[in-house]
Subunit: 232 residues, 2 copies
C-alpha cells in the first residue's frame, strides 16, 4: 500500500457549499454585501442558483469566522465592525505577527535565511511602488510582506488564525488605504524586522514587528473614528 499521504484534498470536487462559501466571502470582502445587509438564505440561494441547504451550511462557516450572524428566523446579517471591534482585531494581528517574527528569528539560520531573503524582495517591491507613487501596488506588497512573515513561522494553525482575522478586517483596511499619510516608514521598519530576524534576535524581532504594527494601528484607528463612521 503506497499510502498516498493524504495528498491534501486531492479531489477538490467542486462542492456547492464551497462555492457558496467562496462567493459569499468575496461579496462581503468587496462590500457587494455591505455591512449591515440582511437577507434570507432563500434569496441568496436563488441568486447563486442553488438550493437553501448549501447556502445554509456556508453561512454556518462564515458565522464561525465572525463575518456574519444568523438571526434565528430573521435572516443572515453581515456583521458590521465598530471601532471597538477594530481595536480587538488589531490587537490580535499585532500578537500574531510579532509572535511569527519571533518564531522565525528563533529558527536555525539555514531555515530563517531564505525566509528573510524572500521578505527582503517583497520589501524592495514596496519601496519601488512607493517611489512610483503606486499606492495599490504598495498595499499589495505590504499585505504580502505581512502574510509571508506569518507563513514563514512554519505554523499552519498560526497562518489559519491569521487569515481569519485578516478576513474580518479587510474592509476596514481597504477603507483607510487612501486616507493614510504616505507610508514612508514601513519600508524602514520592515528592514529593521528583517535585520533582527537575520541576526536571530528573537526578542528584538518581536518588539520591532509589534512596534511596526502598533504605529500603523495608531494611524488607522483615529482615521476610522474621524470618518465619523461607527460601523464599517
Amino acid at each position: 500500500m503506497v499510502q498516498m499521504r493524504d495528498n491534501a484534498a486531492a479531489a477538490p470536487r467542486p462542492s456547492l457549499v464551497d462555492a457558496a462559501y467562496a462567493a459569499l466571502k468575496r461579496a462581503i470582502r468587496d462590500t457587494a454585501l455591505a455591512p449591515g445587509y440582511q437577507g434570507s438564505e432563500q434569496e441568496i440561494a436563488l441568486q447563486l442558483g442553488m438550493s437553501r441547504t448549501p447556502v445554509h451550511e456556508a453561512v454556518i462557516r462564515l458565522q464561525e469566522e465572525g463575518l456574519v450572524r444568523v438571526l434565528p428566523r430573521r435572516g443572515v446579517l453581515v456583521c458590521a465592525l465598530s471601532p471597538e471591534d477594530m481595536r480587538e482585531i488589531y490587537e490580535v494581528i499585532v500578537a500574531l505577527e510579532s509572535a511569527a517574527a519571533a518564531l522565525i528569528a528563533a529558527q536555525p539560520k539555514k531555515q530563517r535565511k531564505p525566509v528573510a531573503t524572500a521578505l527582503e524582495a517583497v520589501n524592495a517591491a514596496m519601496a519601488a511602488a512607493l517611489a512610483a507613487e503606486d499606492l495599490p501596488a504598495w498595499a499589495e506588497a505590504d499585505g504580502r510582506f505581512h502574510q509571508m512573515l506569518v507563513e514563514g513561522a512554519g505554523n499552519a494553525r498560526l497562518v489559519r488564525i491569521y487569515a481569519g482575522i485578516m478576513d474580518q478586517s479587510h474592509r476596514a483596511r481597504m477603507l483607510t488605504l487612501r486616507l493614510r499619510p504616505r507610508p514612508i516608514l514601513s519600508v524602514q521598519e520592515h528592514a529593521g524586522i528583517l535585520a533582527a530576524i537575520r541576526a536571530g534576535a528573537e526578542a528584538e524581532a518581536l518588539a520591532r514587528a509589534k512596534a511596526h504594527r502598533q504605529r500603523a494601528v495608531a494611524q488607522i484607528l483615529p482615521l476610522l473614528a474621524q470618518l465619523g463612521m461607527r460601523q464599517i
Copy 2:
C-alpha cells in the same frame, strides 16, 4: 423604541444543532470518541436521537475548529494530533498568552489592578493545591489562571481564538498531567508575571508569560514523544 440592545442571545432556544455540537465536542474532549475514530453522521445522529441534518451542521462547525475532518463520502474522522501539531498548538498558545499579559500590563492601573488581584487569588489556590499534593485541583487552578489571564486582556476575539486552540490541545494536556514533574516553579513564575503586570511593565509581562509557557512546553513535548505515541 427601547431597542433592547441585542441582549446577547436572549432566547437561547435549544437548538438540536447546538446540542449535537456540544455533545460531540464533549465526547471528543473526553476521548469518548477517541482520536482516529471514524463514523458516519447517520450513526451519530441515531445515537443522539436526531436526524442527520443537525449532526451534519454541528460537524461542519467542529471541522472549522479543527477537531474533526469530514472525508467526503467516507465519514467523520476525529482528528489525531501529532507531535508536530502539538508544537504548532503550543506556539500559538504562547503567542496568545504572552500578548494577553502585555495587553493587561498596558492597561491603565485602575483596570489592571483588579485583574492582577483576581489572578493572585487563583495563584494562591494553586500554591495551596500544590502543598496538599492535590494535582487535579492544581491543574484546575492553573488552567483557570491562564484562562483568566487571557480574559483579562479585554479582547473577546483573543478569548475566542484561545478557547479554540485550547480545545484542540485539551486531550494532550490531560494525558501529560500526571506525567510531569511536580510543578513547583509555576506559582513563582505566575507571581513574576503578576508583578510585571502590576508594575505596568508591558515588555516584561510579555517575556515572563512567554518564558513560563515555553518552559512548560519544553517539559511536555519530550514527554509526548517519549510516550512513543505519534498520534494523540
